[in-house]
Subunit: 256 residues, 2 copies
């Protein structure tokens, strides 16, 4: 442990550091570019969906891709995700979390681009006007195969079966697997339902993410015993059957 190298003057640590940093140019070496890509997941018509945007410029022009963009020099990763999401979909204040970083050398034909993949969860109601009212935006259905299936899931894009741009198929796969793994252990499912929901709404979220059906009573008791939901006292009216009770999330400010 030599705290001052031979041949250097011994100074206080702070002075030495300041001197070093003054003469240091971190931009002197070639280095990768850094991007963020986001798999926005939602539940529509009892199935999981992911938001895709059409690439209007090369590379992969005309193909479907995840919303994404380059990280600026003066913004954090979270800031970049928020900016990119609003620019490409108009959505703000979604739940987002980091997924994994993809850094293969040849993953982008423009050059070396490393991307920090994220996922976002949003209730279907908030997303409908975005996808229907925005050019180049679409929902792709994600059908997870239950545990034991050959492929982890099937992705149905609007214009027929087609691979996404870059390695975005792998990002969607990682997003679905991550949410599957966290579903029972964290309150992520509540990010996919409206503020007030029935237990069967919630159950459909679980079933869509997991790709299998669940027992009604078992699910009900498990959720109620978790203490994460509280009854609102209201019921959903206007159906042609018994009005179901409405609940709200009762955890500490959501989370993930």
């Amino acid at each position: 442990m030599e705290r001052a190298r031979a041949g250097e003057n011994v100074r206080s640590g702070a002075d030495e550091e300041a001197l070093f940093l003054a003469g240091y140019d971190i931009t002197a070496w070639p280095r990768p570019s850094l991007a963020v890509d986001v798999a926005i997941l939602t539940i529509a018509a009892g199935a999981a969906h992911v938001v895709l945007v059409e690439r209007t410029r090369p590379p992969a022009q005309g193909r479907w891709a995840l919303p994404g963009g380059f990280v600026r020099i003066d913004e954090s990763l979270d800031d970049a995700v928020g900016r990119v999401l609003e620019r490409e979909t108009g959505l703000r204040d979604m739940y987002t979390a980091q997924l994994a970083t993809f850094g293969e050398v040849d993953r982008d034909p423009r050059g070396r681009v490393v991307t920090v993949a994220h996922y976002a969860l949003v209730p279907a109601a908030r997303i409908e006007d975005v996808v229907t009212g925005r050019a180049g935006c679409a929902l792709a259905r994600v059908t997870p195969a239950g545990p034991g299936g050959d492929a982890p899931f099937r992705l149905v894009v609007p214009g027929g079966a087609q691979a996404l741009a870059f390695d975005h198929d792998a990002i969607v796969a990682a997003a679905v697997e991550r949410v599957q793994g966290r579903l029972w252990y964290t309150p992520v499912a509540f990010e996919l339902v409206p503020d007030e929901f029935t237990l069967l709404d919630l159950q459909r979220v679980y079933e869509a993410i997991l790709g299998r059906s669940l027992d009604k009573n078992g699910f009900r008791r498990r959720v109620l015993a978790s203490g994460l939901v509280a009854p609102t006292g209201r019921r959903r009216e206007g159906l042609r059957a018994r009005p179901p009770e409405l609940f709200r999330f009762a955890g500490d400010g959501r989370g993930g």
Copy 2:
């Protein structure tokens, strides 16, 4: 979905892409630097430890840090991890996995540096000569508080309690939590024991990572029922008690 924008010639997709890429310089914009840092975990004397290296140059000169370095323009993240680990510790072919990416704007005084944190798992036997025989390398004891503790864990560095350089304390915390979460669901624990081990060796790994003691018989039956271990037929001799049976990992080429 407009696949060719107004005002542009409509060509084949491949031609258009090639033209675009020929005139594209991705290095034109300022962008962050990219690094990898690795928390190497091991079990020694019944406790979890992490490998630290002393910083011999600013910034944070003289402080303890995780092994790490910048990602070169022509190497993948995994390649960078392997290169950095061998350079800073001499260790090769460890199990490594990606953890999370830390991208706060001010986390490195040299400038904007985003780091892709990884963790590595290695049996204690492989690490002893490295740490004892290499200047500026040390083991820090990591004491996880069981579930319900105030802090997630306590880190005991060699020269007294001191924070690690940069945000490396947070990386160690994330590494321990990640391994804790995967311990029962993936075969990561086998990366921390030698090729041949007793079930009590394995149990001590679990206890060190989880920070609590486990029931001997319950652990034994759980591990044997998992089908991940196979008896070797040999026993460990030379103890002052009954020689325990030796097992080996019987899964498909390890994994994570």
